[in-house]
């Protein structure tokens, strides 16, 4: 299974968790790392290139911090321009059918904030619904997201452990 790893962090050198997670998986033979902010610092996405990468992959992993209940802006731009009619949906838009869509998300707050009683008054499953609907609309399989809570205060050990978890998830995907 070939995996397209969409790393979406605007300031990787300041990242505490995402960067470690990236390092944990980048050497896997079937993983292709696509650093979106590095490629498109002016947010001008190369649609053809992205679509070609998608065609060649069986699974797409989106690694990003959870900014304001969503992903950093470039990922939204990516979704807006890459998932075109005729490619991802609509007549003839079957390029993504059967592929897997997986989110690997880090949140600043702790896990207790994400529950019906928590600060955010919603679970991660609920908050990731827009992505889920997008994936399904394109005929893709929505994988249960991998979430790392409490990134602000996490210690190196916990982060590393999560990195290993991500790695084994990717190894056994599909």
């Amino acid at each position: 299974m070939s995996i397209l790893f969409q790393f979406t962090h605007p300031y990787p050198h300041r990242s505490r968790v995402n960067r470690v997670l990236l390092d944990a998986v980048r050497d896997l033979p079937n993983v292709l790392v696509n650093d979106l902010y590095a490629l498109y610092p002016k947010l001008h996405v190369d649609v053809e290139r992205e679509q070609a990468l998608l065609r060649e992959s069986d699974a797409v992993v989106f690694q990003h911090p959870f900014y304001w209940y969503s992903a950093p802006a470039l990922l939204k731009e990516w979704i807006d321009v890459v998932l075109e009619q005729g490619f991802a949906y609509g007549p003839g838009g079957t390029a993504l059918h059967g592929k897997i869509w997986l989110h690997s998300v880090t949140t600043g707050m702790g896990g207790d904030a994400y529950g019906p009683e928590g600060l955010n008054q919603a679970t991660m499953a609920e908050l990731l619904k827009p992505f889920e609907r997008t994936a399904r609309f394109c005929g893709m399989g929505w994988q249960a997201p991998l979430v790392f809570h409490g990134a602000h205060e996490a210690d190196a050990g916990r982060i590393a452990e999560h990195g290993r978890a991500l790695r084994s998830l990717l190894e056994t995907l599909g």
Partner: protein, 601 residues
């Protein structure tokens, strides 16, 4: 004393013109009538300030010659070919339909038939000078009436050649000679020569001249081309104006068109004026007063006949109704060629002197009727039609681009290419001929000229364009152009390339808000790439560069305000530098603080 009388004459012409023409225009009589009247005033029939004005007036003829050259410049060869229908159709019919009745009339007057034929043919032609001047002045050249009129005039100019050839034949004196084959051969050679040199020699020659960078030498070459062509044609007995028209057509698609137009326009204007003065002078008031009843009838009949034929022609060629009278009136006068023809005929003994004098008078008077008739047209005829507006037709001139780019070097080219790629019409001006040559090879349309000249800008369409991009690298010229454009074409938006900070300040002082320092953005970009290479993420580097950019633009404003005060300037610059350092380092600190406050950036 030959020299001083030349100068005195010239002075008198200029003086009279200065006095009378503005007056005539103000009274609504038009400049042509003004010049004619001025000529009448100073001529033998008037104040007799000038009795033998031939020296100066001889080169007044070149006014017509230059005018035809300029007309040719406006006409691309392909369009000329497309016009062959109207030229031979309308033109041919007009000449025929006018000549026959006139000849019949002349025969009725007991003139022998050679004289009748000559007189009729000469009178059938209109005055290219007057008609074209009217069309150009009123901006009607692009309308159907203008185009038909132009085609007719063109044919008339062509028809002069056989007419001139016929005179000796009809004269009977040289009847035994038969057709002048060597003469015709020479003429054909000359025309062929003009076409060939126009196609292959003129442009390289102009490029060579333009490369010297001396404006006056270019003007000299423009005049040289016109005069040389005219004289060449004259030596083989063909119409000078036709030759220069041809030369103009051959240069119509060259990059030098606008520059040639701009250089020759003032000469044309002045010389044409002198030409009309000379016609006014040739009017023998005594003769007119002596035969005024006959002349009145003759002129009325003459102009009336022409009007009839032209109105019919307008109908046949489907001119829109509101334009038919204008077309007819504009061509209803007798032409300057009638003078030439009459003179030649008189010299060959075909036409008796008194008849010749009358003919000249009739033609000259008919020329004066045209401006008057036009006044009638404007006041009475036109308003009757103005209720029914016709849709505007496409202008023959296919410029009218919304953008003018002054300076097509490395900077201008990028802007131009971006606009062109977005299908925006761009008129480009540049002053380096070698440069232009290269650019044209790649299919860009560039015009040679000094973009700081207002008349060139106007000719390039600045009056109708939306914006002008000043991409000239010379700071002085750039500023001069900005000043001119602001004054003459206030509607035109101005976008400027700023060579450096000082230039930017000068632009800001002139209220120019859209400008780009030519090296700023690219240096910034390279700096951004340097940051990336040093390990900054590309996005972070980009953000840093954007921050720097915003800061620098603000700092520039502050420096501009402090520019006159050196102390203040120094302190402002220092402050800016420390501010920048602070801003950059604050980011790092801020980030650390914010992270612990649950936010991210």
């Amino acid at each position: 004393m030959h020299d001083s009388s030349f100068l005195t004459h010239f002075l008198i012409y200029l003086g009279t013109a200065l006095l009378i023409v503005p007056l005539a225009k103000k009274l609504g009589l038009g400049s042509v009538l003004g010049y004619l009247l001025a000529g009448l005033l100073i001529g033998p029939s008037g104040l007799a300030l000038i009795s033998q004005g031939e020296d100066v007036l001889h080169f007044a003829e070149f006014g017509v010659v230059i005018m035809l050259f300029l007309v040719g410049l406006e006409l691309a060869p392909q369009r000329l070919w497309e016009m062959r229908g109207p030229i031979f159709g309308a033109g041919g019919l007009q000449v025929l339909a006018t000549t026959l009745p006139l000849a019949g009339f002349a025969l009725g007057l007991k003139l022998n038939w050679p004289s009748a034929a000559i007189a009729a043919m000469g009178m059938a032609l209109s005055s290219t000078a007057i008609a074209l001047q009217i069309l150009a002045e009123r901006n009607q050249l692009a309308t159907p009436a203008g185009r038909l009129g132009f085609a007719t005039l063109l044919f008339q100019d062509l028809a002069v050649i056989p007419m001139l050839a016929l005179i000796p034949l009809l004269g009977g004196q040289s009847a035994g000679q038969g057709f002048d084959w060597p003469g015709a051969g020479k003429a054909a050679l000359v025309v062929g020569g003009i076409v060939v040199s126009g196609r292959y020699l003129l442009r390289p020659a102009l490029r060579y001249v333009a490369a010297t960078g001396m404006r006056e030498i270019f003007t000299a070459s423009a005049l040289f081309i016109v005069l040389a062509t005219a004289l060449l044609m004259q030596t083989v007995g063909m119409s000078m104006a036709l030759g220069t028209f041809l030369a103009g057509v051959l240069l119509a698609e060259s990059e030098y068109r606008h520059a040639l137009e701009t250089d020759l326009e003032p000469f044309k204007g002045l010389l044409l004026g002198l030409f009309f003065i000379s016609i006014g002078m040739s009017v023998d008031l005594g003769l007119i007063l002596g035969h005024w009843r006959i002349l009145l009838v003759l002129v009325a009949g003459f102009v009336g006949l022409k009007l009839l034929v032209l109105l019919g022609l307008g109908r046949m060629f489907h001119l829109p109704k509101p334009q038919r009278w204008f077309f007819a009136i504009t061509l209803s006068q007798g032409g300057e060629f009638a003078f030439v023809l009459t003179n030649t005929a008189q010299a060959e003994g075909i036409v008796p002197a008194e008849a010749a004098g009358l003919l000249v008078a009739v033609v000259a008077l008919s020329m004066m009727t045209t401006p008057l008739l036009l006044i009638v047209h404007d006041r009475l005829i036109e308003p009757r039609f103005s209720g029914r507006r016709q849709p505007a037709f496409d202008a023959v001139e296919d410029e009218g681009n919304p953008v003018i780019i002054a300076g097509f070097g490395r900077f201008g080219q990028i802007v131009g290419r971006l606009l062109a790629a977005n299908r925006i019409g761009v008129t480009v001006l540049d002053h380096d001929p070698i440069h232009i040559d290269t650019i044209r090879k790649f299919g860009h349309k560039v015009f040679y000229g000094d973009a700081t000249r207002l008349d060139l800008l106007r000719s390039a369409g600045a009056g109708q364009a939306k914006l002008i991009i000043v991409a000239i690298d010379d700071v002085e010229q750039s500023l001069r152009l900005v000043d001119s454009v602001k004054e003459e074409f206030p509607h035109l938006a101005i976008l400027v390339r700023a060579r450096n900070v000082q230039h930017a300040f000068e632009l800001m002082a002139r209220g120019i808000s859209v400008y780009q320092r030519e090296i700023f953005e690219s240096a910034l970009l390279l700096g951004e790439q340097a940051l990336t290479q040093l390990g900054h993420g590309p996005y972070a580097a980009h953000k840093a560069a954007q921050k720097f950019r915003a800061h620098d633009i603000k700092a520039l404003q502050k420096r501009y305000q402090a520019r006159d005060d050196e102390e203040k300037l120094i302190s402002v610059v220092r402050e800016a530098r420390s501010q920048l350092a602070q801003a950059m380092s604050a980011d790092e600190e801020e980030y650390q603080l914010k992270v612990t406050r649950d936010s991210w950036r």
